[in-house]
Symmetry: C2
Subunit: 236 residues, 2 copies
DNA sequence: CAATCGAAAAGTGTCGACAGTCGACAATTT
DNA sequence: AAATTGTCGACTGTCGACACTTTTCGATTG
């Protein structure tokens, strides 16, 4: 007798490979500021600490290098990427460029479900502003913007957004918050959503430019007030 | 006794590490169509052929995966990325988005040197159209657009352009040419350059949209006429 | 006392090896 | 004959090892 000739709905077993796990562990440590920008990331040390060999650590390093989280100097290994102020300017400039486009596309492809999802996420952002949890707030802010890119329907654009976001999180994780005033984040998103609702391209682009320009100035100011971290301290 | 107390401007000797060399070799093989889309790239085979061990090959694979040239399925290794027609649409859509921005920025930062360099590159493109060398023509076309991104001054944008370009070259290398008419490529660049010269944002964006939209349609049409390469042939 | 030199420690680049996994094909059962 | 199971070869994921390079740190010297 056969056990089952048809699929019975078992959840697929995904064997999380080491590289992915290591990459995730390192990413968390970096965007949480646990490993500060400029810090050396020694393969041997990471391998020892995680109880794995160096090979998968090296591959995870390459992965994070391609995402802009690490830099590698041949013969000298990896270290957490440092961002000069003008590099942050480049990042935000590019981000505004693609999010403008994403928002216009999203408005064209807007469905009732999408509209509701956006509204929901913005509400969550408002709620998060009430409690004091900067890391969570950064996360929810990121999700709102990511949702717009998702709705745009351009998957390559979404991937790019993810890359830019993880890169930006190094510095945002470093300064620990987006603004001095936690309420302000959620509030500045409202005009953006309103602009998208209109469906008018020019208005949407203006909305993105206004909102992200504000965020840009906030981050740029905080970064420039930061103690210039040229540290080369090791990580255990 | 010290040889020199101050740097004298010698070109640094970069000991090309294996990973870079392997990555370059694989990239060439891919964008030249020597390893077709969908083909499996076995680590052991590549390692044997190049006379190296599998470790650097794996790292090079990760690198090319992040550039969108390879895809890796856990437990099944790497294979050359295949692009569905709608993924090519995504790529071109994104490319137009960032090149619009790059062109506007470039016009703002334009210097006599930059203007000359652009004109020169376009002349080279015209010359290349005369001789029959599709690969060279793709190369020079790419250089012209890259120059615009360089002049824009946004390095992150330039890096993104390089990524998109190498990804696009998989399919362009596959079809072997940009258009049926080799002369047309150079000609369609002229209005773009003229638009940039005006310095007017709207006109520049229109110029980019017109030029790249034309290229998009050309590539999209050729791709859709392509025999759907779902091959899984191995590479020696 | 500061600068320099050099040996030791730590770390990186690469390799060969082994175990586990995947895919294909033959043998077997229904 | 069709479907299932067992087997085999090839390949991937991971590991430990070795040679070479970089860094560290104490000893030496001016």
């Amino acid at each position: 007798m056969r056990l089952a000739s048809k699929p019975v709905g078992l959840p697929a077993i995904v064997s999380q490979d080491l590289v992915t796990q290591i990459a995730r562990a390192l990413t968390d440590a970096i965007i949480s500021g646990q490993i500060p920008p400029g810090a050396k990331v020694a393969e041997a040390a990471v391998a020892r600490e995680l109880g794995v060999s160096r090979a998968p650590v090296r591959e995870a390093g390459r992965l994070l290098e391609s995402q802009g989280l690490l830099v590698s100097i041949p013969g000298r290994g990896f270290s957490v990427r440092t961002h000069a102020p003008d590099e942050i300017d480049d990042l935000y400039d590019l981000r505004i460029c693609i999010e403008k486009h994403a928002a216009v596309l999203a408005a064209q492809r807007m469905t009732p479900e999408n509209r509701l999802a956006l509204r929901r996420q913005l509400d969550v952002l408002h709620e998060t502003a009430a409690i004091n949890d900067p890391a969570r707030q950064v996360e929810e802010d990121y999700r709102f913007h990511r949702l717009i890119c998702e709705i745009s329907g351009n998957r390559r654009l979404l991937k790019l957004f993810d890359d830019l976001a993880s890169e930006l999180r190094i510095v945002i994780g470093l300064i620990g918050r987006l603004y001095d005033d936690p309420q302000r984040i959620a509030q500045t998103h409202e005009p953006l959503l309103a602009a998208i609702e209109t469906g008018d391209a020019a208005q949407i682009q203006g909305g993105v430019e206004y909102h992200l320009g504000d965020a840009w100035r906030g981050v740029a100011q905080l970064v420039r007030n930061l103690p210039t971290n040229q540290t080369t301290e090791k990580v255990s």
